[in-house]
């Protein structure tokens, strides 16, 4: 099985799905599921099988190369798995929507494009796939109409800025080194001057920073996540955004090389420090903004930004521990954020489109699977032990401590506190508390939604207890980038800063849990009473919900609100307005009066003649 066939299946599958949808709905659904599962199988067959092949000889004098290595495999398997889960989920979620052919086509096309990105062995392939991913994503973000349109425009503008930067970067590499093959470049770039490397890093960082939503460049993300169809939000947050991380890995470690990166800058102002601090800012501020959101998806979206900061923080230091943390966190984040989006989607599906945290609640009994997903998801998000988030965060904290970066560590910790506060609100307002009257008889969660949620929940626990599974792959990535391998076993990591053994923690927690369970067991059992069988100081007992969850963190909100304005978004909007204004006024030079136009013509001529005759400029 070669890489070309994999891509052919991925792209061809997208088209096949689209056209089979013209024949019958069932055929299309079947095709989508089978093809996405098929790609999972094919990709997994590449485990530990490095491969390389030339896709296309001589595209504008370049050859487009594909290659499979541990890094590519790690990302590829994640991409196709999440995609498959989201496709399965979509079967139920998208049931009543229109234009499903289009939806599946775009979803699979984006999947194929992402696959191409991670498999690409040279920067042109990378760029082409990157662009296909960008515009296809735009077309899918806009799918929901209305508010989604604005989100789509925001996304595509930033994305275009990013790709233009990348194009400059790629082509400047090409003109300097006459090759774009990643493996060839890695050797050659060491000879480049520091200034050039810095230029390259900055220009690529803008691209990948936009995609990964690093703080000043994040503004497209909340809207885009919120407005896309939920399964696609999951894909978007799970892997698509993290293509930025992949890009950072490739450019920082694959092309420029970590040794060169670490030498850039001096003292406090260095490339890696700047990046780390941007990561820290990206952790703290969005997490607290997330706390104030009342839209479930928007809350998750802000967390998506915040968690991206951890990954940046992890890889910024360029140590094997940090790398492992960053890459592992990418995977973990994808698992729990996809899970969370899927469970929110389940709620949305059942309540026919309500995501407002203030008008939901008590869905725990009605949709236990979704609750399970939500609960495990937020646990992972917080980093509760026994969930996967704990391991990767542990690795990142360890890195920060080892690197003597107490402020950054504090920022990361602050982020976690904020996460706890905000996700508790999320969990409570969705699933706990009192169920509103109108949601008493909501739709059941269909099986196609339950399956992905259960699988992901299982994955959270699995990777939480046995982090060695993914860490082994990550270790080989580390080796490939030239870092020393970590000492990894199935249950955790052994490092100079301490040992992580999830088996011990697992056993301890089991014992502790058993004790707690026992205490509850022997104490008096709680009794259930009806809502109306209650004493309310003589007042009439309300018939409807009285367990209100609006203004969840009101005092806190009042306190921090002035500081948490999304100034960058405001700034961008100001820039956009200024641009509108400028554009509207600059075309006023076309006054509509021909005399002026003739004047322009004669002026152009006279100007040139004058400067030449007077000063002989040319």
């Amino acid at each position: 099985m070669s890489l070309e066939i994999l891509l052919a299946i991925a792209y061809g599958g997208a088209f096949l799905t689209y056209f089979s949808g013209k024949i019958s709905q069932g055929l299309r659904d079947g095709a989508a599921v089978l093809l996405s599962l098929g790609t999972v199988l094919i990709v997994s067959s590449f485990y530990n099988v490095p491969a390389a092949s030339v896709l296309y000889e001589g595209f504008l004098g370049l050859s487009l190369v594909l290659r499979m290595n541990s890094l590519a495999w790690f990302f590829a398997i994640a991409i196709v798995s999440f995609n498959a889960l989201c496709v399965i989920y979509s079967l139920a979620y998208m049931k009543d929507r229109n234009e499903k052919d289009y939806y599946y086509f775009m979803l699979l096309l984006i999947n194929a494009a992402m696959l191409t990105i991670v498999l690409s062995g040279d920067l042109v392939t990378f760029f082409i796939a990157w662009e296909i991913m960008s515009w296809a994503t735009f077309l899918l973000i806009s799918y929901n109409r209305n508010g989604a349109l604005q989100a789509g425009i925001k996304y595509i503008v930033l994305s275009l800025i990013g790709s233009m930067c990348m194009l400059i970067g790629i082509l400047s590499v090409y003109t300097s080194f006459n090759t774009l093959n990643i493996s060839e470049l890695s050797g050659q770039l060491t000879t480049a001057s520091a200034g050039y490397k810095l230029f390259l890093l900055i220009i690529f960082s803008i691209t990948f920073g936009i995609k990964n939503a690093v703080m000043p460049l994040h503004t497209w993300l909340p809207d885009a996540y919120t407005e896309s169809p939920t399964p696609f939000s999951a894909v978007l947050s799970g892997m698509l955004t993290r293509m930025g991380v992949y890009g950072f890995l490739v450019i920082l470690f694959g092309i420029v090389g970590i040794k060169s990166v670490l030498t850039l800058g001096s003292g406090f102002i260095s490339y890696t420090k700047t990046m780390a601090w941007l990561g820290a800012i990206t952790i703290v501020i969005p997490t607290f903004i997330a706390m104030l959101q009342n839209d479930a998806k928007k809350l998750l979206a802000w967390h998506g930004i915040g968690q991206g900061g951890y990954m940046i923080l992890g890889i910024a230091f360029g140590t094997s521990l940090g790398m492992a943390g960053g890459i592992f966190h990418t995977l973990n984040h994808a698992i729990y954020i996809v899970l969370l989006f899927l469970s929110v989607g389940a709620v949305e599906y059942s309540t026919s489109g309500i995501r407002d945290l203030n008008s939901l609640g008590g869905l725990f009994k009605k949709m236990p699977i979704a609750f399970l997903g939500g609960f495990l998801g937020i646990s992972g998000l917080i980093g509760v032990p026994l969930t996967n988030g704990f391991v990767s965060k542990w690795l990142i904290y360890k890195t920060l401590i080892l690197e003597n970066a107490p402020f950054l560590a504090f920022a990361a910790l602050l982020g976690t506190w904020g996460t706890i506060l905000s996700v508790y609100k999320f969990l409570h307002n969705l699933y706990l508390g009192q169920i509103p009257e109108k949601h008493k008889n909501i739709k059941k969660t269909p099986l196609a939604m339950q399956v992905p949620i259960v699988i992901l929940s299982f994955a959270i626990i699995l990777f939480g207890i046995m982090p060695g599974l993914p860490l082994k792959v990550i270790n080989s990535i580390n080796v490939a980038f030239g870092f020393s391998p970590l000492d990894v076993n199935l249950w955790g990591v052994v490092s100079e800063a301490g040992t992580l053994n999830m088996l011990n923690i697992f056993t301890a927690l089991i014992v502790f849990g058993a004790i707690v369970w026992g205490i509850f067991r022997i104490s008096r059992p709680a009794t259930l009473t009806d809502q109306y069988d209650n004493y309310a100081a003589g007042a009439a007992i309300p018939k409807d919900k009285y367990h209100y969850t609006v203004e969840y963190y009101a005092p806190f909100y009042r306190m921090v609100k002035p500081f948490l304005k999304d100034i960058f978004d405001l700034l961008y909007q100001k820039v956009a307005r200024a641009n509108d204004f400028l554009c509207d006024n600059i075309r006023k030079i076309y006054t509509g009066y021909v005399g002026n136009y003739v004047m322009y013509i004669v002026f152009f001529m006279a100007f040139l003649i004058f400067i030449q005759l007077k000063w002989s400029v040319f």
Binding site: G595, V602, M605, L613
Partner: protein
Amino acid sequence: MKKGVSIILLLILLWGVVAALSEMPFGKAKLEVAGHYTDYGKEDTGAANIVTSVVLGYRGFDTLGEVTVLFLACIGLAVVLSTLKKQGCGARQTPSLILNTGFRFLFPLILLFGTYVFMHGHLSPGGGFQGGAVIASGFVLMYLSVPKIKRLNHFVSTLFESVGGLIFLVIGLIGLKLGSQYFLNNFLPNGEFNTLLSAGIIPVIYIAIGFKVGSELSKIIDVLLEESE
């Protein structure tokens, strides 16, 4: 203000042109290409009028373009005015008797003169364009002096325009197959110099152009006048 700026800009332009003109004094001797035309034009094309030999011989392709432009103008004019609604007949003075009589007397003469001009284009000043214009001015006179508007015959004028142009082109294409195999190549014998039947294809083309230009220019006037009266 605007006038001032215009004048300044135009003066700068003038400055530039004067600078360029200093390299090309008035009345200086001909350069290589023009010298070649006057020296060998007679032999090359057989036309006594060197301007004609340039227009239809050396630079015949320009003339093809020129004919096309006129054809184009005719069509374009018709397009621009085609969708206009017919206007009611405006007040039109009856032309005076003198004009009317003069027209009857002059019209054949003008046509004859025009024909002469384009038939002798290779011998004397004039040619298809001038002859055609003379014919067209005859038609202008007709429009001025005839009380009831006589429209040009659409069929005939279309035929003249198209066939005139096509003759030009076909002669050119025949040249591609005959003789030295060049487009617009003079494949007919040059004949005796300075007689009517000389200069190969030139008189043929000029006759075609004469009819074409005459009918086209008349048609331009005709179309412009069309619904206004």
